[in-house]
């Protein structure tokens, strides 16, 4: 087990290191002078020179990288070029909003997707199975931003049931989180279905049936528990995907989360915030992945000792 944990943690550190290096390379990729780009197209020469000095761009690439990494370790990405506040602080302020949306989307995806998956597995080829499959393929083929736009068009513009955008009471959460959840629900339905089918055909379930247990008890108490390991893994992966997908969803629904801050900062050429955001979201993602891997190893002895 210790070996497994150490190798996973090492892996996570390597991922974070590669991402931070990519973020470093990011600004050096800018066509032309980085300081010029950062200062903006209309900045006077003195300001560009001052910025170049401040960012250490006049030094060698190696010492720039060392300086950058030492700041990253402390979580310091300099101040936002737009707001003149800590770039990382801005990200952290907005993150709870993203987290709430992703959490609700996860409940929708796992809850509803799991239920449809179980229903499909009980009667393969039945109404729930075929309906669920169609629903799933539909959700997987439509870009999330289009589902979002259609949702606004139907439920906010035509029917007037739900608010179109912005934060607020519980009604404001429905459209964005449902949009975010639908795409992932497809995978959840498929996985739950196949995992449940495997378990339901196993000898242990046959034994429970012979024993005379009620079907409902067999399905929800025994089969679902055995099928839960892959489902939990996928749930974790989906949560991670929601954080990345928030970039689009928050832009459509005017949601004040970290994804929208990223897009706004990219458009406003506020690169310190872009760097902080890329780094922060990657860190969260790596941590979630790490937790999944560790729980997976904890639940499944084959991985722990393998």
């Amino acid at each position: 087990m210790a070996r497994y944990v150490v190798s996973r943690v090492l892996q996570a550190i390597i991922v974070v290191w590669i991402v931070t290096t990519l973020v470093f390379v990011l600004v050096r990729l800018t066509p032309g002078d980085a300081a010029q780009v950062l200062a903006g197209p209309s900045a006077p020469q003195e300001e560009i020179d001052a910025l170049r000095k401040e960012l250490g761009l006049d030094q060698s690439l190696g010492s720039q990288y060392v300086d950058y990494m030492s700041r990253v370790v402390r979580g310091d990405f300099r101040d936002s070029l737009r707001f003149h506040e800590s770039a990382m602080g801005l990200m952290l302020d907005r993150f709870p909003n993203t987290l709430k949306l992703a959490g609700i989307a996860l409940v929708i995806s796992v809850g509803l997707g799991g239920l449809i998956g179980v229903g499909s597995a009980i009667h393969p080829g039945g109404l729930v199975d075929r309906g669920g499959k169609f629903f799933a393929i539909l959700g997987q083929s439509m870009p999330t931003f289009w589902i979002g736009l259609l949702g606004i068009l139907i439920f906010a513009v035509k029917l007037g049931w739900l608010p179109a955008a912005g934060p607020g009471d519980w009604k404001h959460y429905i459209l964005p989180s449902a949009t975010l959840g639908w795409f992932s629900m497809a995978a959840m339905v498929r996985l739950t279905r196949s995992a449940m089918l495997d378990v339901l055909e196993s000898d242990s379930v046959k034994f429970l049936r012979i024993k005379g247990l009620r079907e409902r008890e067999i399905i929800f108490k025994h089969a679902l528990r055995n099928a839960s390991i892959p489902i939990l893994t996928l749930a974790g992966l989906q949560f991670v995907a929601f954080l990345s997908g928030s970039v689009i969803i928050e832009t459509i629904f005017g949601w004040p989360g970290s994804g929208r801050l990223m897009v706004e900062s990219v458009t406003a050429r506020d690169y310190t915030v872009v760097q902080a955001g890329t780094f922060f979201i990657s860190i969260v993602l790596v941590l979630v992945n790490l937790v999944i891997d560790l729980t997976y190893g904890f639940i499944d002895p084959r991985i722990r000792f393998g």
């Binding site: 590669i18 990011l26 800018t30 997987q140 289009w146 259609l150 991670v240 970039v247 990219v266 993602l285």
Partner: protein, 298 residues
Amino acid sequence: MAASPTTIGIEGLRSPAKRRYWAALRGAPLIPIAILSVVVFCGIFGNFIAPHDPEAPDPLLRLQPPAWEADGDWTYPLGTDPVGRDMLSRLIVGSQVSLLIGVTVVLIAGTIGTVLALLSGYFRGFADAVISRITDAFISMPFLVIAVAFAGIVGPSLNHLILILGLLSWAGYARILRGEVLRVCQQDFILLAQITGVPAWRIMLRHVFPNIANTLIVLATLQLGITIIASASLDFLGLGIPPPRPAWGGMLAEGRIYMRTAWWVVTVPGVAIALTVMSTNLLGDWLRVKLDPKNRGM
């Protein structure tokens, strides 16, 4: 008397090649193939079949509804966009960009992924460790967030979009194909080739690659849909194809604020994306079952 295996083998050899060719297509998803053929046709000949100039605005014809609506007109079957350009023409020509990006990105990512998978699966050891770690890192990165950051910094353009998506999406190929390469390399014919002194690059190219090509084709087909959605997402955020060149994601973004009065500006391009992606998904699913050696002869 039951037929012996030998007679079956001879029968199999005698069956005409032509019939086997058609048998391979049996059960192919016809509707998805038809939809994809239309998209490919539009992508190649779009400039010749578009009824109007897709990039010429006409302020007098802003937001004309589609033909079947009350104020519709068959001159503009799918209506016009917020600056008075024909939706149908933009849709037809817009497929060019989706197709171009989809195919080139899949080629770039597929090539990188295949080469890395061959290297790490064939040589194993240190090379494998390094390549696998990098692959894992790329798989667990927030794809869209990094794509947005890159596109924003290097500036939106077709070439940049292709490079960004290509360089960020190879990891899936590398991971899955590596497993396949490992499996193939355990077989005797690889060992025999090594003993005979065939150079490593030749073994990889002539003996390993053909055995992983099926998986590669399935992956590439499924990845095509994901790439089209990703590029449309970047278009939608204004980080993809610069206007006025028509692209499906960009059309959605342009129509977004007019959604309340003109439903078609956000519906039409979305339907095009959804149909295309759904077709690639269904085709990929079919290929996966079809090309799986376990299902051969079924």
